[in-house]
């Protein structure tokens, strides 16, 4: 991906209202790979007794990151939309820690981009969640 295309993608993603509301940030993008970070926030807690972040916030992070990876693939002309997304929750994210995710578009056709992603907290040996999804490939 050209530096220009990455900068535009970065601006586009960081300007999404829901991503701004969650303070999500794109940390890397290019050639079908995207990385994002979601800081810990008391507003997105799903279990008030433990302080663990809700799966929905992890979904938003995974969905955005997978979409960004699909868009950044050299064969992708422009935008994308999620067709389906499956998330597997391996363990609860540790309260207080940011969640980072890396998504990779591992195959793309004229119509569909296939993407997978992993989410981690500070313990990088044990994933918090993984995702697999299919995304549309929109024409120019």
């Amino acid at each position: 991906m050209t530096p220009d295309k990455s900068r535009i993608a970065e601006q586009f993603i960081n300007a999404i209202p829901h991503c701004k509301a969650l303070n999500m940030k794109l940390t890397h993008i290019g050639d079908g790979v995207a990385e994002m970070k979601l800081p810990y926030d008391l507003r997105i807690v799903g279990d008030p007794e433990t302080g663990v972040v809700h799966g929905g916030a992890v979904s938003a992070l995974m969905d955005t990151c997978c979409g960004a990876a699909a868009m950044s693939h050299p064969s992708s002309p422009s935008g994308t939309a999620t067709i389906d997304l499956r998330i597997d929750y391996m363990r609860a994210a540790t309260p207080g820690q940011a969640i980072r995710t890396r998504a990779e578009c591992y195959h793309i056709t004229r119509s569909v981009a296939f993407v997978r992603a992993t989410a981690l907290d500070d313990d990088t040996n044990a994933p918090v969640a993984t995702a697999t999804g299919a995304f549309t490939v929109e024409g120019l």
Binding site: A15, G46, P48, H54, G55, D84, L85, R86
Partner: protein
């Protein structure tokens, strides 16, 4: 055989609404998205009033796929917890007085969740209902449907598997 006299309607309603409140209003993420639940007997409908912070594509504009996923997952978890809690309340296993003062039942944990995006979420209110297809002692499978203007026109559906909270009343833990 003498039948027990039914309780006054407001007593039954108050107990059920207090239980639902305890489930829904203790979770910050549910409040953050602005999700609420309407109850008709044991049937729940989740509502997601539109708000600008839910937008994922400002050009269309459309609701963020992650918001849709979070809305459906919340509907599934609350729907599942509610179906278990309902039986516990109706059989008197759970004390509704305790629920009213903020005792929060343990919620099921999501094992996996698959969302099918059927059409883009419009910048309007959204609704969802969950159907518990199987609810065992340890695992449960739940299907959820979400729509906006027309009940029959779904914008998303999802299926998830959940790990049930351990119950202390069972002989086998």
């Amino acid at each position: 055989m003498a039948r027990k006299r039914p309780e006054p309607v407001q007593v039954v309603k108050q107990r059920r609404d207090a239980a639902l409140n305890a489930l829904v209003h203790g979770v910050p993420y549910i409040q953050f998205l602005g999700i609420d639940f309407e109850r008709r007997g044991d049937e729940l409908t989740a509502t997601l009033p539109f708000d600008n912070k839910l937008i994922g594509n400002p050009i269309l504009p459309a609701i963020h796929g992650g918001v849709t996923a979070g809305f459906l997952e919340t509907t599934a978890v609350i729907g599942l917890a509610w179906s278990v809690l309902w039986d516990d309340i109706e059989t008197g296993r759970v004390d509704s007085e305790e629920l009213a003062v903020g005792y929060l039942p343990r919620l099921p944990k999501t094992i996996d969740f698959t969302v099918d995006y059927l059409r883009s979420g419009l910048p309007r209110d959204a609704y969802a209902r969950a159907r518990v297809n199987r609810s065992g002692r340890r695992y449960a499978s739940v299907h959820v449907e979400a729509w906006q203007d027309q009940r029959a026109v779904l914008f998303a559906q999802a299926t998830g598997h959940f790990l049930m909270p351990r119950r202390d009343d069972g002989a086998d833990g």
